[in-house]
Symmetry: C2
Subunit: 333 residues, 2 copies
């Protein structure tokens, strides 16, 4: 028993020492080093400290600390076009030798000729044909491999870097900071859910089961004699605008307390988040840095930010001015 | 520095002591005390030890330890009828005073008269009418409250207990054992997802975002001037049979390594789980205990177990004989 008591006493000393180290280390470390000390960083830290303060008026239990993030333009680059669109174009080119008829049939001809006007003229029907040809007709696991292989070699045209390096360092820090404070972080994107799931864990620390996105239908069937899930050329769900809150309730089953976006596609998610009880945090990334990234908002084809910007200003949501508020844009190579 | 060194040395002693205590405690504690020492318990423990043995041939990284559980008849009671059906009947009775026309219109008349044959005669159309009248037309959060309030007073007719106490103690232990070994546990049920989410965390330790189920459509709209999600009288997804693997890929995005069910509705989930690479575990609960619970299988209206039982026997999946393999059925009151 004496040995046990001694061990426990040592253990007590040890716990005090460890606790002291943790507190000391915390005071020394800036959780958001790529953010300038401007209003958005202060607002983020104030919110996190408020909801995690045990016994405080605004304390939120860990299980309710749900934070949802748009992907395109919020966590990674969406210019000069959505990454998934670049994937679709490359995929049409790769499959074209097996489809000689595409040389003379829209929307495929337009993609092969780089004539986006002709593609756009085929409307929704054309887009569905492109989706069916490039995203369906394989199992989910086969599609994951196609995406992974493509991302390993494809390059963002301005930076000549893999797309998975064209992610925003300040947002990576924000994700990690929230998780360190008990938040569960989710992606809620208009992009295809299975286009994101193969790489989000490695790049953002967000596992596949915390990715909500648009989807096509899948069907249980035997593939090479084994039960598998085949991707069908049919839309299942569009996770954009009004669809974002619907996707969140479907997958997560509760309202987030914090939501992050950058375009009008995120407006409803932020509105619904804001309308819940208790402390709330809504943030929009405004792309204002033509030199270090791209500058775009109300007129952009990709990531149009217009009505949501007006609402953010009217309601006092946090708006990140990338040029002024972010010290760095991309992670060190 | 000397103080730091001393503290670290003490800390080292402390860690050894704690590690020793953990090993010692582990060796002493049976993680599945409500299971008899028969084949199913041995198979479960062998599987868990195999996939968690670092450096072993069958080691599975934590992020891939996904286990999916059916709910009705696997985690809680499904006799004399599905709990959600009992809820629907009670709900019709509660709402009936506001709908005098129900006294003369099927399927409502049948529900009010206790004439289930008349209800069944209205077929799928009748069931959809009942669903629309009882499950739709309110926000998701309002529906959660209705379910919670009902569960607080409703009683299972045989045991005169709340339904949330008619859950299987051996399965609660299994859920906890898997989670203690790094598994993420999910419900994948043919039941309504929002019928389960309000209580699964408290009862099973499974949070709302780890519940996959059947659903009706929801719509983003203003309710009393605030953005909210309204439940619509329209089926969105049926999470049963072939739908279970589809639901899993949609919500979770990867194939489980272990799956647990009790009826033909779970057959495809178990088949798809079994068809993955690496170690796999498939289990069916066979209700064989007429005295302590109910005995039913191939002819049952609820939880019919026929084809899946044949497949389990043919393929060597684990089958729990409730009477022989479970020491206790329900948690202590």
């Amino acid at each position: 028993m004496t040995e046990l008591k001694n061990a426990l006493r040592r253990c007590g000393i040890c716990i005090v020492f460890v606790a002291f180290s943790v507190v000391f280390a915390h005071a020394q470390t800036d959780p958001l080093p790529s953010w300038n000390d401007t209003a958005p960083k202060k607002a983020i830290i104030a919110f996190v400290e408020k909801v995690t303060k045990d016994g405080g008026a605004d304390f939120v239990p860990v299980d309710q600390r749900i934070a949802t993030f748009d992907n395109d333009g919020t966590l990674w680059i969406e210019q000069p076009m959505y990454v998934q669109l670049a994937f679709m174009i490359d995929r049409v080119k790769e499959l074209a030798p097996k489809h000689p008829e595409w040389k003379t049939t829209q929307p495929f001809k337009g993609v092969l000729d780089g004539d986006m006007k002709a593609v756009a003229a085929t409307g929704e029907k054309g887009l569905l044909q492109l989706m069916a040809a490039t995203h369906a007709g394989m199992t989910v696991e086969q599609f994951h491999k196609i995406v992974t292989d493509w991302l390993a070699t494809a390059q963002q045209p301005k930076y000549k870097s893999p797309y998975t390096q064209c992610v925003y360092q300040p947002m990576l820090e924000l994700l990690a900071y929230l998780r360190a404070n008990g938040f569960k972080t989710y992606i809620v994107s208009g992009g295809g859910v299975e286009f994101m799931r193969p790489w989000t864990e490695k790049v953002y620390g967000i596992p596949p089961e915390q990715v909500v996105g648009s989807s096509i239908k899948t069907k249980f069937e035997l593939v090479d004699g084994k039960p598998d899930l085949m991707r069908l050329p049919e839309i299942n769900f569009i996770d954009d605008k009004e669809g974002k809150p619907v996707g969140i309730i479907q997958y997560i089953g509760r309202r987030p307390i914090a939501a992050f976006g950058n375009s009008d596609g995120d407006q409803h998610m932020l509105e619904w988040t804001a309308a819940g009880d208790g402390p709330r945090f809504m943030l929009l990334v405004h792309h204002t840095d033509a030199e270090r990234e791209y500058a775009y908002d109300r007129q952009s084809s990709f990531g149009k930010l217009d009505k949501a910007l007006d609402e953010a200003n009217a309601k006092g949501w946090t708006v990140v001015d990338m040029k002024a508020d972010w010290r760095t844009i991309f992670p060190p190579q």
